[in-house]
Amino acid sequence: MAERTFYNEVLTDHNLHPDNKYQLKDPNKVKEGVNPSCGDDIVLQLKYVDGVIEEASFVGEGCAISQASADIMINLVLGKKKEEALHLSDIFLRMIKGEATDEEIEELEEGGALQDISHMPARVKCAVLGWRTLNEILNEE
């Protein structure tokens, strides 16, 4: 049986009142991320200049986990350099596998609210959708 406490306030708040869910003006990097089996579908939009994520937003649809995770991710990577963003992404993906240390998870700030996904294999894809899409953009070069 799944963890009872999973849908915590951080998560439901980012789902219902996202900070970064809107159409970005003139993004220079746009990438769609899809989980075909469950229908999560987001489009990540960046203003990515000289290796720095200057602006970021997402639009799309999906479960609370996919939406909240993408929203929290953007808060974390805004203004960050490529290497810093990839570093956070690496921690997040390892956290979801249950392999990150507590100190590392602290670096993720609110992202730590998704820690319990490691006990819910059916929802891993939802939690990593935003991060996976970000990695694809950053690793394109």
Partner: protein
């Protein structure tokens, strides 16, 4: 009436036969996906392997003859269960999907010419849509959609308008796995036959829950899966009218479907064997026959009375919860154990995850029926949370009123838990 149906003694009497329901602390409400298995059925499967197993048809020795008898007696049991005229009208397959693929290949090759039309209902499971879609592409035919009303009813008048000189086939479900509503197959069959159109019916959801008589319905083909009706996974059925099956070419080639084989060609066995290439699933067929005996022993009268009372209770409980809307008909009588719904503001995957945390197994997603859900989504002016996805509960006679109550309690907690007041 429901007082007598759901006494503790009665519930215990039924549920003692289902080990999983006793071994796991869950409320299982995904019966449209697959049912749990009674101990009698799994014992019979084991018994076949412990006492009768040999490769059927081939051996001259007694044991092989026993295995053949197990298989052919099972075929007769299936024929009797659905009212087929002869057991040679029953082809064993892996599941309903394979049965439909067989038709889409063999039957379509025989009857479909470029420019012909195949009518498919909008409510079909992908299994009863994709095989026809691909056959139409292969043979240069056209797929025509038979659409339902918003309450899930398929109207005979609409079907009549769709049929023309090019129409060769109608593929439609007896009972949609999303809408849960019984379709008027006999009327549709009469309309088809007036115009020499073949009707093929997906019985995967109807055969396990209501009595189905292929002669009374006058369908040309019917398909269903064993695993949705108490039998193990891996055994399914294609019923076809004898005169059609006899004319159709084989679907797969291999052992035991031949009469003679030479360097240059072959002649094929009689129906149904010409459609059963290779070593067949005797254990599965034997267990399916035991599942049929289980149905006959329990009786559809009791099964339907329980399932309909459970459905009515579930609809009432769901109606009382704010922010939940049921897809299709709003009347309990139009839902044969299947209730698909939306929770306003909450994505169906979150609904299913929270229900799972309460121990209730329900299905979330597109239920392998994306064209239908897209159609209903468009009708609803795209107002659903979660796009075309929905949540579904599907009941079986071994469910109880207490389980329905607990399901509804779990459902009532979802919107508050997700921060929606």
């Amino acid at each position: 009436m429901s007082d007598n149906l759901f006494t503790k003694e009665e519930n215990d009497y039924i549920r003692k036969d289902f080990p999983l329901l006793n071994n796991r602390e869950i409320i299982y409400m995904d019966n449209a996906a697959t049912t749990q298995k009674p101990v009698q059925v799994m014992d019979s499967w084991r018994r076949y392997y412990d006492e009768y197993n040999a490769n059927p048809f081939r051996g001259v020795y007694g044991l092989s003859v026993d295995a053949t008898e197990c298989y052919e007696d099972s075929r007769s049991a299936v024929a009797g269960f659905i009212g087929a005229g002869s057991s040679s009208e029953i082809v064993f397959t892996r599941n309903a999907s394979e049965s439909i693929n067989l038709l889409a290949s063999s039957l379509c090759d025989m009857i479909i010419k470029p420019g012909d039309e195949i009518i498919v209902s909008i409510a079909e499971h992908h299994s009863n849509f994709l095989p026809w879609q691909q056959a139409a592409k292969r043979l240069g035919a056209k797929i025509v959609f038979f659409e339902c009303e918003e309450d899930g009813e398929f109207k005979a008048g609409k079907l009549k308008e769709l049929i023309n000189d090019k129409t060769k086939l109608l593929a439609i479900t007896h009972l949609s796995n999303v809408l849960g509503r019984i379709n008027d197959i006999k009327t549709f069959a009469d309309i088809c036959h007036e115009k020499d159109v073949i009707i093929s019916v997906d019985g995967a959801q109807s055969v396990p829950h209501i009595p189905v008589d292929v002669k009374a319905l006058d369908v040309d083909f019917l398909q269903f899966s064993g695993h949705k009706m108490l039998a193990p996974m891996g055994i399914g059925v294609l019923y076809g009218k004898g005169e059609l099956l006899e004319k159709m070419p084989p679907y797969m080639y291999g052992g035991e479907m031949i009469e003679t084989v030479t360097r240059d060609g072959a002649t094929f066995a009689e129906v149904p064997h010409k459609f059963e290439a290779g070593t067949v699933n005797v254990g599965g067929a034997y267990a399916l026959a035991e599942a049929i005996r289980y149905y006959e022993k329990t009786g559809f009268e009791k099964i339907m009375a329980r399932e309909r009372a459970l459905t009515k209770a579930a609809m009432e409980r769901i109606d009382a919860i704010e922010g939940i809307s049921v897809i299709g008909s709003q009347n309990a009588e139009d839902h044969e154990g299947i209730i698909t719904f939306l929770v306003d503001g909450v994505h169906p995957h979150d609904v299913a995850a929270i229900m799972d945390a309460e121990g209730v197994c329900v299905r979330a997603g597109h239920h392998c029926a994306q064209p239908l859900l897209q159609y209903l989504y468009d009708i609803r002016e795209k107002k659903n949370t979660g796009g075309i996805s929905t949540t579904r509960i599907s009941l079986a006679f071994y469910n109880t009123l207490e389980e329905v109550d607990r399901m509804a309690e779990a459902l009532a907690k979802i919107r508050p838990e997700m921060g929606i007041v």
